[in-house]
Amino acid sequence: MLPILAKLFIYGVLFLSLVAALGVVLLPNIFHAALCLVGTLLGIAALYLALQAEFIAVVQVLLYVGAVMTLVIFAIMLTHRIGDMTIPQTNKQSLPACLALFAFVVLIGGLLLKTDWSILVGTGGSVASVNPPVDTFMLGKALLGEYVFPFEVVSVILIAGLIGAIVVARKD
């Protein structure tokens, strides 16, 4: 019974995330679209959780929902008379867009099919029984041990980016 419930949960979440993702591109109101994006991100976090990647899930929520989306919505709210804006999100280039989408689906789908997922699926076939190959501890060790140099480089680049943003934004 539990595996069925778990599957139901996963497919439900998947469905909701897809609906929300469609909302992101189709809704005329930017604010609504941004809220749908929050929904999508939360759905993805729920999927991570179902895969027992709790750390990734929580980081997803903390960073994307908590920080990035907040800033996105904040930026939207500061724009000019946002409340009145209902812009149609479709334009005349829907055909090329569909083609591009199709190409993307083929590419990703091909990759998905070609990849060997056997390690992650595990032997039992049930998602709930999979042991996560990485846990927080290993992740931390890897980040501050093996990959400490790239990690530090990335943080330096980020700081440089932040300072650059401040410099660009300041006018005086």
Binding site: L78, K171, D172
Partner: protein, 379 residues
């Protein structure tokens, strides 16, 4: 330190603070343009409580306006009565008996305590201290209002002064109760100051916010504690020495910066001076009549009181500033012209100058520190 507002080319947001707003102290409206949260323009809009006070008074016997003056600045009806009585007494050249003078000063100073203590309470409430200071203030205010009720029959709308004296004498034993209040008041002030005066948050919020420079205070004819906080040595009690003030010892506290904090502190220091005045007056109060017998004759027929032709301007140092009544008499029972110099109204005129460049939150406390009562602003 308030930095100069850096203006980016974003949209301004126009917000109407009031007329229904928790902190506009009545039906007052501020049309505020915001740049982020910084105020770039502020337009005070008043008149929601306009009651045609002056015109009504010009169609009424002189005494008939006395209860209306209660309703000008409904926190300080005794001071308003005092100012109006002084103007009429000047107009009709009426002597006031000694005991009445003393009682008037007691009432005026008690009113000042009531007013300042509540203003500070409201100011702190505007700052966000959730009702605690204002309720402590009201606790003390109740004691004084009880005295007013016992003496004049009403807590706030006293209608107690009469031209040439007072309506009634003090009831027995009330002087002892006043003495007890005056004795206990410094203790309360210490508690009240301990609550927030040295509080870092209060200092951060109030210091260097809403600075009123000396020159602007003088040229905008700001009076009362607000002017004194900017260092203007202007206290009608000292300048005119009306009633028995020229015989009393007291000092006038003066601020240096003229910000919200100074206005707060000046009020507290003034309360301490008022306590000093009250102590002196209560010690020296004489026995005697409470109303000029000539005027007592008009009690049953206020309409027969006809001051001679002429004009007079009577002013008092009301808790909010210089409260003046200008009267022109044409010899009839009604004043030909009746004009009120309302301190709240005139002090409010500098609001925009004080607020520009500050945040919305500051505008609220600046308004609170100006100490307005809409009854007086919109008289």
């Amino acid at each position: 330190m308030i930095d100069e507002p850096v203006l980016h080319d974003t949209d301004t947001l126009e917000v109407n603070l009031g007329p229904q707003h928790p902190s506009t102290h009545g039906v007052f409206r501020m049309n505020v343009k915001l740049e982020g949260e910084t105020i770039v323009s502020l337009k005070p809009i008043m008149g929601y409580l306009h009651r045609n006070h002056e015109q009504i008074a010009e169609n009424m016997s002189y005494l008939g306006s006395m209860p209306y003056t209660d309703r000008l600045d409904y926190f300080n009806s005794m001071s308003n009565n005092f100012g109006y009585a002084l103007a009429v007494e000047k107009l009709a050249n009426i002597e006031v008996p000694e005991r009445a003078q003393y009682i008037r000063v007691i009432m005026a100073e008690l009113t000042r305590l009531v007013n300042h203590v509540s203003v500070i309470g409201f100011l702190l409430n505007d700052l966000g201290a959730f009702f605690t200071p204002i309720l402590y203030a009201f606790r003390e205010r109740e004691k004084i209002l009880d005295i007013f009720e016992e003496i004049a029959g009403s807590r706030m709308m006293c209608n107690y002064l009469r031209f040439g004296g007072l309506k009634l004498d003090l009831p027995p034993s009330v002087l002892d109760r006043i003495k007890k209040i005056v004795q206990g008041f410094p203790k309360f002030l210490d508690e009240f100051e301990g609550l927030l005066t040295k509080n870092e948050i209060l200092c951060m919020r109030c210091q260097n916010v809403g600075i009123l420079p000396y020159d602007l205070a003088v040229s905008a004819s700001i009076t009362g504690p607000m002017a004194r906080a900017s260092g203007v040595n202007y206290d009608i009690r000292k300048i005119d020495g009306y009633s028995i003030y020229n015989r009393l010892k007291f000092r006038v506290p003066l601020g240096k910066v003229g910000d919200v904090y100074d206005r707060y502190m000046i009020r507290i220091l003034e309360m301490r001076q008022s306590v000093w005045i009250l102590e002196q007056v209560l010690k020296e109060i004489p026995e005697g009549p409470i109303i000029n017998p000539k005027m007592a004759a008009f009690a049953k027929a206020p309409r027969n009181f006809k001051p001679p032709k002429g004009e007079a301007y009577g002013r008092v140092e009301a808790p909010k500033g210089e409260l003046g009544f200008y009267l022109v008499s044409d010899g009839t029972p009604q004043p030909w012209r009746y004009h009120v110099r309302a301190p709240s109204f005139i002090n409010l005129t500098v609001l925009e100058d004080l607020c520009i460049g500050h945040k919305v939150a500051d505008a609220i406390i600046i308004l609170g520190s100006i100490d307005i009562v809409l009854g007086e602003v919109d008289h």
